[in-house]
Symmetry: C3
Subunit: 158 residues, 3 copies
Amino acid sequence: MSVLDLTESVTVKNTIGGFVSEKKKLALIVHSGTLDKLYCAFILGSTATSMGWEAHLYFTFWGLHAIVKGAMEKAGLPSDYKKMDKQMRERLKQMKYPTPYELLQRMKTSGLLKIYACTPTMEMFAIKREDLIPEVDELAGAATFLAVAADAEVTLLV
Amino acid sequence: MSVLDLTESVTVKNTIGGFVSEKKKLALIVHSGTLDKLYCAFILGSTATSMGWEAHLYFTFWGLHAIVKGAMEKAGLPSDYKKMDKQMRERLKQMKYPTPYELLQRMKTSGLLKIYACTPTMEMFAIKREDLIPEVDELAGAATFLAVAADAEVTLLV
Amino acid sequence: MSVLDLTESVTVKNTIGGFVSEKKKLALIVHSGTLDKLYCAFILGSTATSMGWEAHLYFTFWGLHAIVKGAMEKAGLPSDYKKMDKQMRERLKQMKYPTPYELLQRMKTSGLLKIYACTPTMEMFAIKREDLIPEVDELAGAATFLAVAADAEVTLLV
């Protein structure tokens, strides 16, 4: 495999709905799949969409594993923080706080969320399109993300 | 709790001292609380302020736990790097390197540092204002951070 | 050691080849040294250079440890994902996927990659220039990175 294979042809896709948007944009690489990082990404994302920004979430590595059907519901804290897992879950239930998947679905209903699944990760871990949650908009490589991020107000890797 | 509760009303606060600043800005989300990540954030922050930039540090999750009074002094390396903990501490002492809290306090004296504590995390972990170090400037949600970051030259999640 | 020692004198170095470039720029802080994070950084980097962007990679902490000669070849997954290590390696071999070091070398041949080694980390861990891979372009502090990043289209911490 040559390094060029890593890069899909670059078509500018920094739009939602096919035309160039003048909305502000948040572009996140979601590399992690633990509960603390998913909340971090989705609270940023849902805050952005509630402010009228577009949110572009690019799921790679353990983040991609988290958007395999049924996986997000099982996400927990990383082992270094395992002892706080139970306390945090009970508190979230008490607060009637939305789960990560509920946050993702609410963002989706705003029409301002676009979800990308990282194709190199899918190939590395033999994950297929039909394994992923239906909210995924596009299978894409890093070039798509960079084109979106180049035009974003805020870009972060979570 | 509805997702709208996650988002405080958006008042533009990308200023220090109440007027719009023309200074360059570094905006960091400090999500981690381990010694390696705190040093990373605070060396970036203190370098920025010594260059005359504003540094906006938004503490969330394990980063927020690190600004609970007395916690930063106990920060160590993540378990994957535990075996290097002793070597690193001895070396830092030898070098008379400032501790993370000393770095934070020096940044603060520049008048260019603004510290935000993440309100959703405070609620999730039942942490109160009076539990936090006195250097905290503002309790804020993600909308405040996004408004600051949209206007920043460099934005990173540590 | 005073906090000012952390900051080298700020000379603007946001160029490759000595003149101000009009190319787009990706600026990455590589803080991690695990296989999943190195791939993330280097796939982003090699995609950027194949798009004609400059890629500026600043290696600090465990990322710096990964550019010690011979270290990158031994990089594995973090302990929380250790059980997937074998599967991932076999799959990458099957795919004839380039190793992280091969990706770095290919980026280097593009003439668009610049590698910085973090001087405070080198001092903290007593790592010398001659310990590092020969592809390193510059030993530098955070001020150099901030000057580059202030001018970059996309900035991330991996």
